[in-house]
Amino acid sequence: MDTGGSAVRKAVFFKGLLFLIPALFLAYFYFYPLLRMAGLGFSGIWAGDPGLARFFGSRDFVSVLAFTFWQALLSTLLTLVFALPGAWVWARFRFPGRGIFALVVSLPFVLPAVVVAAAFLSLLGPSGILADLSSFLFGRPLYLEDSLILVLLAHGFFNYAVVFRIVGGFWARIPESVWEAARILGAGSFRSFLHVALPLLAPALLSASLLVFLFCFSSFGIILMLGGPAMSTLETEIYRRAMHLFQLPVATLLACVQLILNFAVIFVQGRLEKRFQTALAFSGKPENSLSHGKKRLPVLLALVSGTIMALPLSAMVLASLRVGDSWSLAAYTQLFRESGDGLFLISPAAAMGHSLIFALASMSVALLTGLCAAAFLSRSDLRGKNLMETFFMLPLATSAVPLGLGFILALHWPIDLRGTPLLIVMAHSLVGFPFVMRVLLPAFRSVPKNLMEAAMTLGASPARTWRLVLFPLVLPAVGAAAIFAFTISLGEFGASLFAVRPELATLPVSIYRYLSHPGALNYPKAMAMGVWLMVMTAGSFWLLSRLMGLMKTRSTQDEK
């Protein structure tokens, strides 16, 4: 039997480990490369780089900053307008195809920007479906290219899931009695929305809006591919200045501005989310309050919303089936037949294999680090815990360019990791880590503290308490986090901008390569790979819902 002192020491050691694992991970793979990069940039600033005056002295900087805000704001508003009806319908009504609806609107969020952009172009672009249709109907092609509208639409499409999940999830857990009370007191549906729903939903709404704003503010691929070369946001300007013009001082200052703004948004968003999660404590079981589809309006709304979201995805499927001027499955049959030269252009099947391996490996890393971070933050009584949480969340919206360049600059010590597959895994894990933590934190916080204390007092070691008490309680959330990290890695694209081994290309990178190669079959092939990626993602989500269902039935059985 251990003495009390060693048990305490063990607990302290355990807590320290929980902190150290994510902290070291972030310190080495995130803060160290970024600081090295910033050091180089600031030494240029110190030396009086002439590019600085040319950029910050002109109106360029102000117009870039203003435009970045402006497009992010418009995108957020559009996403809200677009996604709120869907969230409402899903949260309050039972209707046929409710699960499929939730799947369709959630898919775009984890698709890589290359695929989303290609899908939009095959729908609305110069040789897209809309152009064909309109020239057939009106004798004149209608299309969009290099335009703000295209960017806004793609942002709305992409971020629908954020609003849908956060607001819809919250909405579903407000008990029916609240709406009944409003109705009994004579409030019409509009008034009950304005005076009851809106104030209740406000924290969730604000939190979702901030996240969408953050993603649109630092959006990269969509701006680059749909906005054209004249469109410039902070993120694309950092990319052009650092990667192509090698104006590191300018890029560093821009990245600092962006990082500070991101930090502020994440901090506020984190506080807000904590508030509405405690507010949720009063809620009942979500499914109980669902009304059956007696009204036509909700079903119609779901249909319209779902169709709009499915349009770009179906455009992609159509484009994958269209070879030249005829319909064919050639793109799909070729996917597994073609071998590539094995050096610079690898076969789609090999790319798929790489994607799976990288996704599994980075899921494990993100899960391990995220689990530790969430466990530490939920148990810690430290002051400045909120600040620490914000620091942990920072990789959520950091510009890929300074980080990638920082990898090249910094990660040759103690062993040279550059150009190894491990670096790709780590880059993917960095993107997945904040999501894992976000999903796990509420689950950890909802575990009653005295439950753990009771187990400890009864003589269980910290590890045993974890395994027997805490872990079973948070397991569903861990499953959800794992699948999140897995799908995020599947869709990750930014790492391919940097010196990488072409024979280790992932699916999104291959899609990009095939998109920009001539040949009648390469475009449909790229689209077919996009469809595959979608199927793999949808499959993971399906698995997730089964997993959650399983957990739920098990826990209800336990209650009985």
């Binding site: 070369p229 610079f344 150009g419 491990l422 010196a499």
Partner: protein
Amino acid sequence: MVLYKIISVLLLLCSMAFPAMAADQVLRVMSHDSFSMDAAHVRAFEEAHGVKVRFLKASGTGAALNQAILSRGKPMADVFYGVDNTFMGRALEADIFLPHASPLLENVPDHLKLDPSFRLTPMAHGDICINYDKAWFAQKGLQPPASLKDLLKPEYKGLLVVQNPATSSPGLGFLLATVDAFGEDGWLAFWEGLRKNDVRVVASWKEAYWGHFTAASKGKRPLVVSYGASPAAEVHFAENKPEKSPTAAITAKGTGFRQVEFAGILRGTALPELAALWLDWMLDKPVQEAIPLSMFMFPANEKAELPEVFQRHAVKLEGTGGLSSERIHAMREVWMDSWTRAVLR
């Protein structure tokens, strides 16, 4: 214990992800996206020298060089392929290459040997110029433009697509061609005129050629900034090898820019001898003769024989410009900033 289990699973996954931490010597070659080479040639080098060759690729010409400069002293590779004469000043100033006077340089014409310190070895060259869609112009009964100035005429309004010089090396080459043709006082006015004449700017060569050029896409622009060898590529990749190329290049004096591509041994490499062997091997006849059809550029080695499709359809400029690489290096950023303001903002 959960932790240990996770860690062991993780280790297992890692060992799966990195099969055979390669016991043999590995020569690492870093380059840009457009670099390509016959896999059989690479295998032959590997067998001849008992090494493994591994490639690293990073987006465009400029971006790849910038990454090589960032890793100065601690290079990620042993050899770098793809510094061109628009960026050679930056590469030489950063001093990231070791000198290597290849004996094969005697087969390279003097106008390509731009680095007297032998840190950069010329490997290939190609002329950046305007290509046009022959069928489109024939159908409209319009003559293709004969000079850059012609592009400002109303009949050529809305016909040209160019690349952003900040993100594309043909784009930068074409900007330099205009500086050369109109002088440092006149070139911006030319671009303002082009903008009024509805020039279209895109980010990359691929987007311009395969996205907007009428002869190679469903696009709407019959004039594109490309290479003198592009007409040969049109014939080479066509399914039913036509007698004549559907496109042609404008090669009059003062309409284009000659791009020279170099390779070098990265300073700090552990394998300088092997890297030197690679350079000599790349400059030798077999690889040089494969360059035209793998990268659509002319080989630097004059002894290399051109493939037939190149002899018949690839063209060179009638006279190249007088901008020195020092001048380009000194002014590149200023010119690009002025260009961005005049054409995009």
